[in-house]
Each structure stands twice: as C-alpha cells, then as structure tokens.
C-alpha cells in the first residue's frame, strides 16, 4: 500500500475513511461547548495509530523493535520516542506505540509492517490496536483538578511529571493516562468506554465554567 496506489485503491481508502466514526464523535459538540478556554478543555484526537507490543526489550528482537520505535521504555511511567511516534510502558515486556493516523499501513504508512518485520519470528507479538482505544486530550490550568476528582494516583507535579504515562483507573474504568506537558493530559480509554468517560469528564469540568465561589 505504501507504494504506488492505483486511483481505485485511493478511492477505496478514502471511502473507508469517510465511513469511519470515532468512538466519541457524537460528543464533539458537547466537548466544544463544555470546554472552558483558558481553564480546562476537552477534545478527542480520533484514529491515532496504536500498536501493542510484547517483546523482551533486552533481546535482539527488542533491540530491532526499539530501532523502529525510537526506544522501548524500561520502567513504569516511562515514555520513549521523539516527535510523533511514542511508546508507553504497559508492563515489563508489554508496550503501546502511539503514532499519528498517517503512520498506519492502510493510509500509506508502514508502522505495523515495520514492527512486524523487526520482530521477525522471534518470541513476542505485534498487534494493530488502532481501533481499540481513542484519545482524549484534557488541557488547561484546571485539568489536574478534573482528574483528581476520580484518579487515586498522586497527580501533583512533584510525583506525576510531564512526559510520563501510567495505566490506572479513571471513573472506575481502566485507561492509560499520559501527561504530555505541565497542563495537558492524553487519556486512552477503550472505544466502548469513550462515551461514558467523555460524559463523565464533561460533568467534572462543568463547575469551572462558573465563577469561583470564595
């Protein structure tokens, strides 16, 4: 697919893209109206390419896979990669690669096939999980306050630093939580939980639209 696509193939890809519905697409307007610019905003970043990896990062296969991803994280919380392709630590031998939509093989990229080739026949697995989760971006000076209503982890910046990601629970559902900058978080709920979590976050954000009561 990465090579010369015929016009028919291109038309097919565009038709498939046009038919897709992201897990929180129906909440897009609510996310816009529920966001409080400068305080806390919520958006969905749909269709990111995601690949589940199982590999021993100290093995030869791990080194080959790391060459594709730009490193594999060594411990809980670590995120490797620079630029648009990042790898989150899920477990000692389990990782999740997150990349822009265009990195997916069906759209002219080669992320999945590159990883599959890198692993070869060695022990491990490369699984295209792009449709498994969607991405929410929660940003603003009160983003942490919204998350702290439900997250049991210590999200204070002295503990949870920008550039780290953990799997944990928000609103009693399992998510990956990635702090991308001092006031911005990316949340990865599974597709079937996106509606619930989106509405939950909107509800939690609502109070910040009103003036603070002294």
């Amino acid at each position: 697919m990465a090579e010369t696509a015929t016009p028919a193939e291109t038309a097919h890809v565009n038709r498939v893209r046009g038919a897709r519905r992201s897990p929180a697409e129906h909440l897009a307007d609510a996310f816009t109206s529920g966001s409080v610019p400068g305080t806390v905003t919520l958006t969905e970043i749909p269709y990111q390419a995601m690949v589940g990896l199982r590999v021993d990062r100290t093995s030869d296969a791990g080194a080959r896979v790391a060459a594709v991803t730009g490193g594999l994280p060594a411990a809980c919380g670590e995120v490797t990669g620079t630029g648009s392709v990042n790898t989150l630590w899920l477990g000692p031998t389990e990782f999740m690669v997150v990349a822009p939509e265009e990195a997916h093989d069906s759209l002219g990229g080669s992320l999945v096939s590159d990883l599959t080739t890198a692993l070869g026949t060695d022990a491990g697995q490369v699984v295209d999980l792009s449709a498994n989760r969607t991405t929410f971006e929660l940003s603003g000076s009160h983003a942490r306050a919204v998350l702290e209503k439900t997250c049991a982890l210590d999200l204070h910046p002295r503990v949870f630093k920008a550039g780290t990601a953990v799997s944990t629970e928000l609103a009693h559902i399992p998510v990956m939580l990635w702090k991308t900058s001092d006031e911005s978080y990316r949340i990865f709920p599974r597709a079937s939980f996106a509606d619930f979590l989106g509405r939950w976050l909107l509800d939690a954000m609502r109070e910040y639209a009103s003036p603070e009561v002294p």
Partner: protein, 147 residues
C-alpha cells in the same frame, strides 16, 4: 481499601488488582497417580488461615504481572510482597509483636490444616468433632513452598 505496592508500579489502590488465592500450591508431581479425592483436594481445598497468609495477586489494571503477598487476614496488614517463584519469606526473624512464625499459631483461633493436601477431612468445618486428626498445633507443611 488496601494500598498495595506492585513490584513494578508502586503503590496502587486495591481496585486495580485481582486476587489469585493461596500461593505455593504445588502441581502434583504425578497427577495420574492421584485418587479422585486427592485430585479434588489439590484443585479445590485451600487453607482458611486466620493470621498471616501467603496469597497471589495480579495487577490487572496496571502491568498485568502476578506476585505473591504475605498478608494478615485479621488485620489486613501486608507483611511482605515477593515475586512469583520465590519462597515464602520467613517472618520470624523480623517478627514484630503479634506476629510469629507460621508453624506456631499466632492467635488462639488460628488453626493449621494437615494432611497431604492441607486438609484433615474434606467437608468439615474447623473444629468439627468427628475425626481424631488434629485441627491445630500440628505443623505439617500444607503445601510445597517455592512454587
């Protein structure tokens, strides 16, 4: 709510974990030689310890890795967390007040089951008075450690 220190992820709420039952239950060396009774005891019969208990947990919402834990079933105090495949730590060396070695009942109510698979008689409540088998005080190992 227990706060459990995952060996990989650090302290997390109990809701991120799932319980895996008694630790160190060895798979029988020759399962084909067991009677139905012995097989059933291996599969289904577990200790019901009042006091320090070795059990398995998995960090299901986090790293999805299993580990072992020594936990007091009365106070819920977590004495030790150690890896799969590691032997049960001996707490007697560092025993604080109120904790003692496994072989000695820590509390009057603690009983240690006996028998090849950790059972005096199946189906009997602790202290049920029909067999001569000792309910407590016996220190026969109830399971293979280090599994």
């Amino acid at each position: 709510m227990l706060l459990i220190s995952c060996p990989n992820c650090g302290p997390r709420d109990e809701t991120e974990f799932h319980y895996g039952g008694q630790a160190h239950v060895a798979y029988p060396e020759s399962p084909n030689d067991l009677t139905d009774r012995e097989w059933a005891e291996y599969l289904f019969y577990r200790e019901n310890t009042k006091g320090t208990f070795a059990e398995r947990w998995v960090h299901s919402t986090g790293c999805r890795q299993w580990f072992n834990m020594l936990r007091d079933t009365v106070s819920y105090e977590i004495h030790s967390i150690y890896g799969m495949g590691q032997p049960r730590p001996n707490l007697s060396a560092s025993a604080a007040a109120g904790t003692s070695a496994k072989s000695e009942p820590a509390q009057p109510g603690e009983f240690t089951q006996t028998g090849e698979f950790g059972q005096t008689e199946p189906g009997l409540a602790p202290g049920a008075p029909t067999t001569g088998a000792p309910i407590s005080g016996s220190t026969a190992p109830t399971s293979s450690e280090g599994v």
